[in-house]
Amino acid sequence: MRHTEVVVLIVSEDLAKRLLSSYGLPVPPGQAAQTPNAAAAIAQMLGGSSFVVKALIPVGGRGKAGGVKLCASIESVTEAAQVLLGHDLLGYRVDRVLVEKALPIAQEIYAGVVANSATNRIDMVVSFAGGIEIENASQGNNQVIWQLPVEPGDVLPVHRVRQWLRQTRVEDVNLEALASVLVALYRAAADLDAVLLEINPLAVLTDGTLALLDCKLEIDDNGLPRQPELAEVYRQSLSSRELRARDLGVSYVPLEGDIGVITSGAGMGMCTLDLLKQHGLAPANFLDTGGAISEALVQGALELIMEPPQVRGVIINLYGGINRMLEASKGIVAALHTISGNRPLVVKILGNQQEEAWALLETVLNVHVIRVVQTEDAVSTLAELMR
């Protein structure tokens, strides 16, 4: 399902399933493994003779790409793990596989909880059409996607879901069991700050019970401060530069060009990138200081963006507002003490104490101060210097 443009943490399937099982949701027995031997040991422990081995990568379309293997013996679990582990799949290296007991499926349902920014509702979505490609499910003559919009923050009572499900006129599914599963999914999505929680498929097993076979969980990163376990997982997924940026309290985006970029504010940053492109320059990275500019923050930010060796020049574009810009300029000077090389820096600083900031910076080698409002002037100065 398409959803909003909010920035998300994609939770790995094994962790998502573990979190969901604490809501009483029926997830298949299973565990993650990093080696073929460990995978075999998990299969042994699970018992039975039929297993699924799944590559743990944060992207959809895994089944089609060969990342999900059905195995009829412990030996074939070992083989499947060997095939998957250490190899690239859909652009991701497979470091772990999930080994689960294979369950006998009678029918496949799609279930989702989506925070819909366009309508400002939490949509509960269900489809009985089955299959893997909900995105391509056409509305056609028969309604295939059923949607229940819920007011954000509201509790979703099971009777409301029950009533809604009756409209679908589906007969061969235990709607009472399905309603409880959907209510638990809604509650989990709310608790976990999920922007998207998708169960595809939610299987009806041959004995009529339900099981969450696959699971896609995307968490709003602004919710991480109240999700300590997920916050730790997120930290571990970051590169060392991204981690340093996060600890500084700034946002950092690595790019492919050779100009380091620092701005205060994302819109100003994007505008600066647009102007760089208009002048034939390409950014190596982009760092947004946010609103709380201090000497230490600016020093850390400049050290961070000048670290990659491909950075040949730098533009700093700050609108300080009430922040003391003399502090920012001291941060620039301090950073340049720790950085080697003669790379040009163009600095446009406006705000409280701007004159003092300009006076300090103009004494520094390789720093070019722009004293006007127009970012174009800063970019064209840098373009000249880079020639």
């Binding site: 443009e5 923050g153 790019l255 504010g265 819109g267 100003m268 994007m270 505008c271 208009q278 127009q374």
Partner: protein, 292 residues
């Protein structure tokens, strides 16, 4: 009747007034002549900040000082509660400056504000500046050209880029009737269209500048309304050089497959009769041409 939500009858409070940012911004809001009457920080009732009484609850500020508007600087994790408290207290205008509020929290207070008929601006926004009345939020007063009876309205998603646009307008001799920052998050409580309606209705506003950016579909929705407007609109869309799928500080500024790109926004705006500026400094010239 206030043209832009605030006027001389506005009695605003600052929620989170004892914090570092709240306190500093209170100073600058008062310096800009803003009618602030009190502050609220739970647990700090009885203190005085910048000459304003501090209360523990919004209800106290309403009861004792007749508060009817609020600017919120509280930390992200308690912002939802602060907004809901303000809505419950009967305030009519709430500006949420706080950034990094979880999206589901914003969705919740947006829904409650709609139910209650309350205007919430933001979150993650610089608020509004109305020359002659003051400012609710953090826009620097120094960039504005004030004292002109007529002028242009500015509405933007990004704070600092809007400041650069406003400073360019002021340098070119164009005064402002109001500047309103709606915020950079994927869910904001007041959208472009609601602000554009005020500019269209305000007789002193002769033209409008819209500062948009990639991500979401707010600009496309704005274009639909602009097509019905009588006043000229010039727009700048930031992020044309931004590669898809990357986040650029604003949680809203990311292009996903099938939406949010600059080109389709520009196309929609052009078709609605908007003049598109390539750079901030082109805006005053383009607007002057349209105002002739």
């Amino acid at each position: 009747m206030a043209a832009f939500w605030v006027d001389k009858s506005t009695r605003a409070i600052v929620q989170g007034i004892t914090g570092r940012v709240g306190q500093a911004q209170t100073h600058w809001m008062l310096a800009a002549g803003t009618p602030l009457v009190a502050g609220v920080t739970p647990g700090r009732g009885g203190q005085v900040v910048e000459g304003l009484p501090v209360y523990d609850t919004v209800a106290d500020a309403v009861w004792k000082d007749g508060a009817n508007a609020s600017v919120i600087f509280v930390p992200a994790m308690v912002a939802r509660d602060a907004v809901i408290e303000a809505i419950g207290g009967g305030l009519q205008l709430i500006v949420v400056v706080t950034e990094h509020i979880p999206m589901r929290d914003t969705m919740e207070f947006k829904a409650r504000a709609r139910c209650a008929g309350v205007t919430v601006i933001g979150p993650n926004c610089p608020g509004l500046f109305v020359p002659g009345v003051g400012k609710l939020g953090i826009m620097p007063a120094s960039i504005f050209r004030v004292g002109t009876p007529e002028g242009v309205g500015v509405v933007g998603r990004s704070a600092t880029l809007s400041y650069e646009v406003i400073a360019n307008l002021a340098e070119a001799g164009l005064g402002q009737t109001a500047a309103i920052g709606i915020g950079g998050d994927p869910v904001v409580c007041t959208e472009f269209v609601e602000v554009l309606k005020l500019f269209e209705a305000d007789p002193a506003t002769k033209g409008v500048v819209l500062v948009g950016e990639i991500g979401g579909s707010a600009e496309e929705r704005a274009a639909e309304f602009i097509a019905t407007m009588s006043k000229p609109v010039v727009a700048l869309i930031a992020g044309r050089a931004v590669p898809p799928g990357r986040r650029f500080g604003h949680a809203g500024a990311i292009i996903r497959a099938g939406g949010g790109g600059a080109e389709q926004k520009i196309k929609a705006l052009r078709e609605a009769g908007v003049t598109i500026a390539e750079t901030p400094s082109q805006i005053p010239g383009l607007l002057k041409q349209r105002l002739k």
